[in-house]
Amino acid sequence: MNGTNGHIVDATRITRVFPMPAGPVTAVADVSLHVGRGDHIAIRGPSGCGKSTLLHMLGCVDTPTSGTLLFDGRDVAQLSDRQRSLLRLRSIGFVFQRFFLLPMLTAAENVELPQSEANVAKDERRRRTRELLEYVGLGARADHRPAELSGGEMQRVAIARALANRPGLLLADEPTGELDRSTGAQIAALLDRVNADGTALVIVTHDPSLAERSRRVLNMRDGRIDEDRTLP
């Protein structure tokens, strides 16, 4: 379900301040951003500019110090920890730079895990897992553990895992950061396909070639969006 204005995420003047021993540090300052269904957004900027903090707030793993963040029309600040967990489980997918696959589980089990947490029936889980591994081109590697996969293959499994519960929004934090150029391009193409199939995508990246594949590129500096470009 989207918000009343059709946006998945409505961030209005959100700020995130971290208390530090040397004094408070403002990681994100007064940012407003709306993510609609099917959007493809890249966030760029130098290290420490607040990209990941913004992504974490959009993904409801962190809450703004001030401002309003609505997800599907619900004020995230008003949700309990359990409600936020459920929201992430059912509506948001995460892809991390370091994959964070569970090494003791096979590729299929990694993809099945969020579905299991969402109480999806076993047969449906199996079917969905097969479908997703085929989707990311790893149907033949379902029974392989992460240690037996290449970096690109691990990121493909991570993308399949992020899509397991059919989220409306996929957030990726430097998804090609640990990959070589060629493998990174394959992951970028896969993310394009995910977006083309209807999932909104917000990517934090240093990689210009990945960012340029988006339809909208936000440049951040010192916690603020200093450029918002829509690409043709």
Binding site: S52, T53, H56, G59, V61, D62, D81, R82, S85, L86, L87, R88, L89, R90, I92, G93, F94, F96, Q97, R98, F100, L102, P103, M104, L105, E109, E112, L113, P114, S116, E117, A118, R161, A162, N165, D173, E174, G177
Partner: protein, 395 residues
Amino acid sequence: MNAMGFAWRSLVRQPARAVLGVLGVAAVGALLFDMLLLSHGLVISMRDLLERTGFDLRVTATDALPGSGPLIPDAVAATHAIAELPTVRSAVALRFADAIVDHAPRGVQATLQGVAGSAAHPWTILRGRDIGSGAEIVINENAAGRLHAAPGTRITLRASCSSAEQSLPPVTFTVAGIARFPFDTPNGTTLAASLDQVGEACGASDVSEADVIMVASTESAGPDAAVAEVAQHFPALRVLSNADAVNRFERGGFTYFRQISTVLTTVTLAFAVLLITVLLTVSINQRLGEIAALRALGFSRWRVVADVFCESVLIVGGGGLLSLPLGAALALALDRILKRIPGIPADVHFFVYQPSALQLHLLLLAATAVIAALYPIRVVARLPIAATLRDEVVG
């Protein structure tokens, strides 16, 4: 995959850690189990031994233990009178003395028992037959071995019946049978004859004195009623039921077993808690990124807490199961060592299994699993997802 399955896979992922944890808990659990068996073992064993003799009351002249206090005068008449009481089924008088049996080169030291009364004698005949009238004697297996004696063999002994040095004439007995005595020590040499024969061997003018009168109550009356009735008729004597004797035994000299057990139980449990807490905490600290990622993917706080708790349960459960056979084997070995203490009857055990000990063992292990998991659970429950993900990437 439920929390238990997930915890299992997490343990299998680091087999060395899992094995270390399980073996550590098994060792600690075995000690814990043994301490619980020890805490009441001696008392329970002594109670069982008293009950196995077939008598449930002991009548003595004073509070002193039989054989170490004054004799009961006119014990044979008292025994017959007690046996006639409505609450009493049977009674037997026993006298204890030391003896040296003639046997080259220096003789064999023995404990001599004299018995009189209506009841079955407090020993079990293994070979031959029980004593009859006349100078007959039954001996235990140790005596038979040392004296090379069998039913029909004649032995000569000199009794020593009081603390004062005596020079008593030798007395000759015919071995009627080989018997097993309930309070025999592993290497003890025990002989038993009729009370009057022992009295004569002791050179006593009054051969009816005894150290103790052992009494069996009727089933309908029970020991408490019999104690009351015997005490009423013989106010000068001290009457104890088996339960009273066990209580005295428990209060008197063996509370330190329970104290030692309590101290060692506390120490072993503390070790178990520390071991599991350290293992789980180290494991979790290695997986903070994964846990934060799972939380970001929508796993609830309770789910990741349950994963950690189940890991603790699996380590403690596995170790706890192993601890039972390990503890039983250890108890047998320790029991053999402790039974070398002089004067301990062969049928008395220090480590005695009882269902309540097993229940307490399981309860304490369950508490260990919970307490050991508290700190790692706190770490996981309070894990800041965003900061952890950021730190993992920067790290």
